[in-house]
Amino acid sequence: MESNNDRKLELNPDSLKMLKYRIYHMERENHKTKKYKDNEMVERIRKVIEAEVDKNDN
């Protein structure tokens, strides 16, 4: 088995900035509207992160 413990991930600053902005605004919007439940919000945030990672990989 190969370990990748010694390899530090480099995060894309633009992606991180975008994620910070999007996640905060999603929360802010939902705080006002209460449209999504906790587990739904977790899924939405997860998808946003995955999409951003996939975008970088492509």
């Binding site: 088995m1 190969e2 370990s3 990748n4 413990n5 991930l9 995060l11 992606s15 991180l16 900035k17 994620l19 910070k20 902005y21 996640i23 905060y24 929360e27 802010r28 705080h31 006002k32 509207t33 209460k34 449209k35 906790d38 587990n39 919000m41 977790v42 945030i45 997860r46 992160i49 995955e50 951003e52 990672v53 996939d54 970088n56 990989d57």
Partner: protein, 666 residues
């Protein structure tokens, strides 16, 4: 959010369609005053805002329709009640109207339909757009969430109650936008089993199925345990908060009933004294009875003997015979003609005459000797029984003294009992206080224990995560997941740091703002501090130490006013600072300017405080709407006059409690 106007129709006291009430939106002259006497409809006006926005109103009777209108309705006819508010939020004008229809369906029955909320807003191009009915409540929540509305629509009672509300922490965080950051942070928290980060971690492939599953199970278990511990920590904190509040309440009760306590202590002490004195009296009585049983006759004889002795001593008689000499002895000496000294009485006439003289001094010819003998007997008798007399005398004195004490203590007891209020048992309050102290200590110990367990569990999670990290095999799937986890953790860290920074800043600025306002309203050696629960505490400088102190009703109003004003001021400062992402490192917390709508804000405040409060309010809130009692207005007016652009008076029609009208004065 700035309120432009409110329109009322048949709402409670306001019969029929009322003239539109416009509120000042001027930045300089930002105050609107509505004057009215008691029961004229000032509180109703503040309730109209809440009813329109949230369908909430705290009237004793349920229906909002004007009573006179309801009474005069014809059978099968209907009447409408509506409240329409026009406001500006985030530069957009909204018209919010809540309508409720009432129909007289029977002679004594009015059917109430469900209220209908309609919202329209003006597009940037000037066109009016209607908000879909299913979005209306959400729109209101976006403008001013109901939970926060209490902090902007105040009645006098709520001003006094601000410190006792349990939701102050949530309200402050809500106002400052911190609750949003808090929720976002929680959803990304790697230590929470249900978080985004934890979900990514669970999907990492760590090789052999057994190990993989074991590690993931351990991680989930530890995360779940951490969640439970954190919930328990919050519960423990809440409980501590409750017991701390209870401690303050009990301390206040003990302090307030200090005199009562003294009286109760005094009563207890008197009860003990009275019991002791009563016992003393009983003992003395027993002794007296015992002494009398033994020597009663002697005791009563003694005064008689005293008197008899005195009579004997005072009696006049000449000469006294030979003690214990009896007449037969003299007769014997004379018959034998020889004195006891040996002298021959037949030859010595002088000696014989002396013997005859002694004979005359003896009874029955003379009483002198008998009296002398009696006197000696009496004296001896008195001497022998003097102890009994003294004992009885001492007992009697002691008995009288104790009786006097008993009378004095009984009188005192009556006075103290009259002062005691009756139902307040201060000793019971003190017992409760001690019990509360013990519980508080137990809860604090529990909190320490839970905090320690949280630390240990967090370390355990970190260890498991390290193992997972070490064992994670290189694959495209894991690479993607690790990137997702890294981004998730980075956003979490940003939110956490931002949250802590913002909360610290909010507290510091709130304290500064509240103290600034307090200093302007109150002149004295006091200031205020804000504790962890965002409760405001009055402090007094005493010998260079700041101590928490008691407060008068008026001072309490000033203190609470400072807190509310401080909050509004802080919200306004935040709003002016700007919204949106300005810096990568700063969380874009945003707040809107809010109006301050207050009913009877000067209740319980004295003349000086009314003037001071009036000076401050226009400076701290973007818009101020005040419902003021006319009696308070004369004190508030000089300070507010330059800031007012709209002023109204509520008038009762024909002095009726069910028909008022609002007239514009300015």
């Amino acid at each position: 959010m700035i309120i432009k106007s409110i329109a009322l129709n048949n709402f409670r006291q306001y019969k029929g369609e009322q003239p539109l009430i416009l509120f000042s939106t001027d930045k300089e002259k930002n105050v609107t005053v509505i004057l009215g006497i008691n029961t004229s409809g000032k509180t109703t006006l503040i309730q109209a805002f809440k009813w329109c926005l949230y369908e909430k109103a705290s009237f004793r009777t349920r229906d909002v329709i004007n009573i006179e209108v309801a009474k005069t309705m014809g059978l099968y006819t209907s009447q409408e009640v509506y409240v329409e508010i026009v406001l500006v939020h985030e530069d957009r004008a909204f018209t919010i109207r809540r309508t409720q229809k009432f129909t007289k369906s029977d002679f004594d029955k009015i059917r109430t339909e469900k209220s209908v909320l309609k919202i329209q807003y003006k597009e940037d191009n000037g066109e009016q757009q209607a908000v879909p009915s299913y979005e209306c409540e959400n729109t209101i929540n976006k403008i001013l969430p109901e939970a926060l509305s209490d902090y902007f629509f105040f009645d006098g009672e709520r001003i006094a109650d601000i410190n006792n509300r349990g939701d102050v922490v949530a309200a402050v965080r809500g106002l400052m936008g911190l609750d949003v950051v808090g929720e976002a942070k929680d959803r990304l928290d790697p230590n929470k089993a249900s978080s985004v980060t934890a979900k990514f971690s669970k999907e990492l492939d760590v090789g052999s199925d057994h190990k993989n599953n074991k590690l993931k199970n351990d991680l989930t278990e530890a995360q779940t345990k951490l969640d439970v511990l954190k919930t328990r920590r919050n519960e423990a904190k809440d409980e501590i908060e409750y017991y701390e509040r209870r401690k303050e309440e009990l301390s206040a009760q003990i302090l307030a009933n200090k005199d009562e306590k003294n009286n109760q202590d005094k009563k207890l002490s008197l009860e003990k004294d009275i019991a002791q004195i009563t016992k003393n009296i009983e003992n003395i009585e027993t002794r007296i009875v015992k002494d009398f049983s033994a020597g009663g006759m002697k005791f009563f004889a003694m005064p008689l003997i005293y008197r008899a002795l005195k009579v004997i001593e005072d009696a006049k008689y000449e000469g006294e015979g030979i003690p214990e000499m009896r007449p037969p002895a003299i007769d014997f000496i004379l018959a034998r003609k020889k004195c006891i000294c040996g002298c021959d009485l037949s030859k010595n006439e002088g000696a014989r005459e002396n013997i005859l003289f002694e004979q005359k001094l003896l009874p029955p010819q003379h009483l002198g000797t008998a009296l002398r003998n009696t006197k000696e007997i009496y004296k001896r008798y008195l001497k022998e029984n003097q102890n009994l007399f003294d004992t009885v005398k001492d007992n009697h004195t002691e008995y009288r003294n104790n009786r006097n004490f008993l009378d004095a203590k009984t009188d005192e007891m009556k006075n103290v009992s009259a002062k005691i209020q009756g139902n307040i048992d201060v000793a019971k309050i003190e017992q409760d206080y001690q019990k509360n102290e013990k519980t508080l200590k137990d809860k604090r110990d529990l909190l320490l224990k839970i905090s320690s367990d949280i630390g240990a569990t967090e370390r355990e999670i970190a260890e498991i995560e390290k193992t997972i990290e070490r064992l994670t095999i290189v694959s495209d799937k894991n690479k993607r997941l690790r990137e997702c986890i890294a981004y998730s953790k980075a956003v979490y860290e940003w939110l956490k740091v931002g949250y802590d920074k913002q909360e610290k800043e909010v507290k510091e600025r709130l304290l500064e703002s509240v103290n600034n306002i307090f200093e302007k309203m109150y002149h004295g050696k006091r200031n205020v501090t804000i504790n962890d629960r965002y409760q405001i505490v009055l402090m007094t400088l005493l010998d260079n130490d700041k101590v928490s102190t008691d407060e008068s009703k008026g001072l309490e109003v000033v203190k609470n006013f400072s807190f509310i004003s401080g909050l509004v001021d802080l919200a306004r400062q935040k709003a002016h600072k700007g919204n949106g992402v300005t810096d990568d490192e700063d969380i874009p917390v945003s707040t809107e300017p809010y109006p301050l709508v207050m009913d009877a804000p000067f209740s319980n405040a004295d003349e000086i405080h009314i003037k001071n409060i009036s000076k401050i309010i226009p400076e701290i809130a973007e818009q101020v709407i005040l419902m003021v009692m006319e009696k308070d207005w004369r004190f508030a007016r000089p300070a507010l006059e330059d800031k007012i652009s709209c002023r109204y008076t509520i008038e009762k029609i024909n002095n009726s409690d069910t028909n008022s009208v609002i007239r514009r004065d300015l």
